[in-house]
Amino acid sequence: MQERSPSLLDELEARSIAILREAYFRVSPLMMLWSMGKDSTALLWLTRKAFFGAVPFPVVLLDTEMELPEVYDFRDELAAAWKLDVRNELCPPEASIDPSLPPATRAAARKTAGLRALIDRGKYRGVIVGIRRDEQATRAKERIFSPRAPDGAWDVKRQPAELWDVYHTDVPDGHHLRIHPLLHWTELDVWRYTQRENIPIVPLYLARDGKRYRSLGEKNITNPIASNAATIADIIAELESTTTSERAGRVMDHEAEDAFERLRTGGYM
């Protein structure tokens, strides 16, 4: 047998496709969260590869009505072009959120509440989410198939074993699984893949007037970074030399040392 050394992107892609198919065959009803960011859009592209052009489950936007206008435009264009079953889930107002949380964290908590309501209503057993281990320290601890209690809580201290690619997908009624097909990717991998596969992106990622968004969140809690990267190739070059973290522009990550962990334990993505 001829020896082949697979490329980094081929290996990442194959693993993600296998995870998506495993989710599809084992978990029902199933849905995918799509924030229109580069990660969940790459995930949609991988889904189309896994299912030969189709996206065989609903694609959900947790809408706080605070996304940037370019993001909404991108959603509408791609939904039509890729024939997506997009569900827009309006999140509860900020007034209904725990007032002890810092302000930006409160905005993120609206999404958690919206997601919980949607899961309850649709009786979903699986939610596919495009998070990556390299984004944030607590996400680094995640499983690929990660069980959640009925209130959405993540018990990081009692996670089940996950061995090889023999995934465990059985959860009690009322519980659900977060499924993370991009967990093993890095920010740079996603950009290299987006470039190789020619996947569409929200134009806000590209620099205009010396600024660009490195990570897309709601307009009131996300800041652009100084950058002259006007193409994906520029972004890749920029990332190859940077030592600042991807979520540095996300306000909620810095409000309190444990803010993100508290969010995630409570069911945030």
């Binding site: 047998m1 001829q2 020896e3 082949r4 050394s5 697979p6 490329s7 980094l8 992107l9 081929d10 290996e11 892609e13 194959a14 693993r15 496709i17 296998a18 198919r21 495993e22 599809y24 065959f25 189309r48 590869k49 896994a50 299912f51 030969f52 052009g53 281990r133 390299d134 320290a137 607590t138 680094a140 601890k141 499983r143 990081v156 201290k157 996670q159 089940p160 074993a161 996950e162 061995l163 090889w164 690619d165 023999v166 465990h168 059985d170 959860v171 009690p172 093993h184 890095t186 740079l188 290299r192 190789r196 190859e240 030592t243 600042t244 973290s245 540095a248 040392e257 444990d258 962990e261």
Partner: protein, 626 residues
């Protein structure tokens, strides 16, 4: 080392294991920093957090990002750390040392290609060191670098380093792990982490980083085809079978075997989106394909080549790590996930538990949490079984109790495979010695005797057939003028008597190869019928005469070695076809006319014949031999 496309090669994933206080996190923090990979933002965060608590900065803080960990000062779950290096990316999987969190260590290790084992030079090898090494083997991580850390606490003593190295080397060897490098390290100060240590001038070997980057991925899976079927996707009227190629390769036109039903089918198409016209898929690919005919395939089935297929069995011996809260006892009923299949098993026997201190096996009546044990499991249904020594990827399983994962392990042996054999296998009671070899190889031995004029294409055909057979998992070997005349026949010339003697010897050797279970392909002009008949007598029913036919004029026009020209010029004597006679076989088993078909088509024709005559089905072996 770049892939053929020129893209970055796949990352190397290294799990970092060892006793809880031996300094894994410090070593990782230091590796990050000294390779220029430490994120400035994160380092600032960590320094600031330490200052708020009035705790002096330690490198391990880099990893202890969770509140719970900082409070308890232990790593409770695996985390991933990316090291971007010039050649390829390295992913460090930080696994917890604490026995209580063993399931997390096992989870981390199951994703790794290799291991970095950290041992405290002062404290020495501990129970956790041994347990982790044992688990690495169980999980399938068999190559490791050992960092003997905290050398500053033992005055950088070469003697102490040597003592621990020798103890560990013996232990790892007994377990079955190849430790390539032992590195004396003081991680806190960076000695021998990335740069050489000024404190240990006696050590001239690699740094930890160099030793890791020199490791090859242990994930390569050569061998014949394996795909655990994830499911079937319908597109219009097509049924696209999907799964990841766990070993080998699959191509349009290949014959495959579906287990456990053991039905054969041929691959009609390889599917991809967007369509790119591919006709094959390799190890690691997430493939979609369709089969000819009405063969029924479902989730949980295993696709293999017809040869070396997984054994059908209901009873297996397995080695496992038990993670359940309640002890495991014989008679327990559990779910078993293996490949993509879910089966139900009963624990028939608890054979032994591996003692962590001595690594010796001892008898047991129950297996407790975090024990490594060998057990016999009995399934209600027939399973397609691979073993750890063969297709390791599909020998791995997890055990389920209710909704919980309670263990994981690998199959060591299928205990009742022959009894479960279906009608395409020879019953055990009828085996004699040669058939046992055939059983082991998955096919019969044979002599495939290619005869024909010089330049008829015998050697080309032999080499193509040998390559294809090898790829498909057959035992095969080509005997031709080049490897016979150089040694076995080096005392012989080209006169009639010498040629006869040469062919006699080849015939005898080929017969021995066939008896040993190999498909010997002999490519010789062998012009005389009597010589070929003698070779047939040597090999008996295993002999197959193939006439590689081509018109003399075609052969002379090809003349790749210039022999025809020399014979015409009179400088080459006794050249068959010009100055010597060729006696064509009156009743060959197969005729391949290379003057009308291309070499690949000729090879395909020959392969089809060989596969048919060496197949293990009763009756098929002799039918083609006129």
């Amino acid at each position: 080392m770049n892939s053929p496309s020129g893209e970055r090669p796949a990352q190397l994933r290294v799990v970092v294991v060892g006793h809880v206080d031996h300094g894994k996190s410090t070593l990782i923090g230091r590796l990050l920093h000294d390779t220029g990979n430490l994120n400035e933002h994160r380092l600032q965060e960590i320094r600031a957090a330490g200052e708020r608590r009035s705790v002096p900065f330690e490198w391990s803080f880099v990893l202890d990002a969770l509140q719970g960990e900082r409070d308890q000062a232990v790593t409770i779950d695996t985390t991933r750390i990316w090291l971007r290096l010039p050649q390829r990316d390295l992913v460090l999987i930080d696994a917890p040392g604490h026995t209580e969190f063993l399931r997390n260590m096992v989870t981390g290790a199951s994703e790794a290609d290799a291991a970095l084992l950290v041992v405290d030079a002062d404290a020495g090898v501990s129970e956790q060191t041994r347990r982790h090494a044992l688990l690495l083997d169980l999980i399938g991580v068999r190559s490791a670098v050992v960092a003997i850390n905290k050398m500053d606490l033992v005055d950088y003593s070469e003697a102490r380093f040597g003592q621990i190295r020798d103890e560990l080397a013996g232990m790892l060897q007994r377990i079955g792990i190849a430790a390539q490098t032992f590195v004396p390290v003081a991680a806190r100060d960076g000695d021998n982490v990335v740069r050489a240590s000024v404190n240990m001038p006696w050590y001239a070997g690699s740094s930890v980083l160099d030793a890791i980057t020199a490791l090859e991925s242990s994930l390569r899976a050569p061998g014949s085809l394996r795909i655990a079927v994830q499911g079937v996707l319908r597109r219009n009227l097509e049924r696209i079978i999907v799964g990841r190629v766990a070993a080998g390769a699959i191509a349009v036109g290949d014959e495959v075997l579906i287990s456990p039903s053991r039905v054969r089918a041929r691959v009609r198409s390889i599917e991809s989106w967007p369509p790119d016209g591919r006709t094959e898929a390799h190890y690691g690919d997430a493939v979609g394909f369709t089969l000819d005919g009405a063969a029924f395939v479902d989730r949980g089935d295993v696709i293999s080549s017809p040869l070396g297929a997984p054994a059908p069995a209901t009873e297996v011996r397995a080695r496992l790590v038990w993670l359940g809260r309640a002890p495991l006892t014989s008679g327990d009923r559990l779910g078993l996930r293996i490949g993509t299949r879910l089966a139900y098993v009963e624990v028939k026997t608890l054979e032994r538990v591996i003692d962590i201190d001595s690594l010796a096996a001892r008898d047991t009546e129950s297996v407790h949490a975090n024990d490594v044990a060998e057990v016999v499991l009995k399934s209600r249904d027939v399973l397609a079984i691979d073993t750890a020594g063969g297709h390791a990827g599909l020998a791995r399983f997890v055990l389920i109790d209710g909704l919980d994962i309670v263990g994981g392990g690998t199959v060591l042996a299928a205990l009742d495979a022959p009894n479960a054999a279906t009608n395409d296998l020879v019953p055990v009671g009828h085996l004699f010695d040669r058939d046992q070899r055939a059983w082991r190889n998955g096919h019969r031995g044979a002599v495939i005797w290619l005869t024909g004029l010089p330049a008829a294409g015998k050697s080309t055909l032999a080499m193509l057939a040998e390559q294809k057979l090898f790829e498909r998992g057959f035992q095969t070997y080509v005997l031709d003028g080049d490897n016979i005349r150089a040694g076995l026949g080096s005392d012989l010339g080209f006169a009639h008597a010498d040629r006869s003697e040469n062919i006699r010897r080849v015939g005898e050797v080929a017969a021995l190869f066939a008896d040993a279970g190999t498909i010997a392909i002999a490519a010789f002009i062998s012009p005389y019928r009597a010589d070929r008949d003698r070779a047939r007598r040597a090999a008996g029913t295993a002999f197959h005469e193939v006439y590689v036919k081509a018109d003399a004029s075609v052969c002379e026009a090809r003349d790749p070695k210039g022999h025809y020209r020399q014979a015409r010029a009179g400088t080459l004597k006794d050249f068959t076809g010009i100055t010597g006679d060729y006696e064509p076989p009156p009743h060959p088993d197969l005729v391949i006319d290379t003057s009308v078909i291309s070499p690949p088509d000729a090879a395909a024709q020959l392969l089809e014949y060989i596969e048919r005559v060496v197949r293990l089905e009763p009756g098929a072996t002799r039918s083609a031999n006129a």
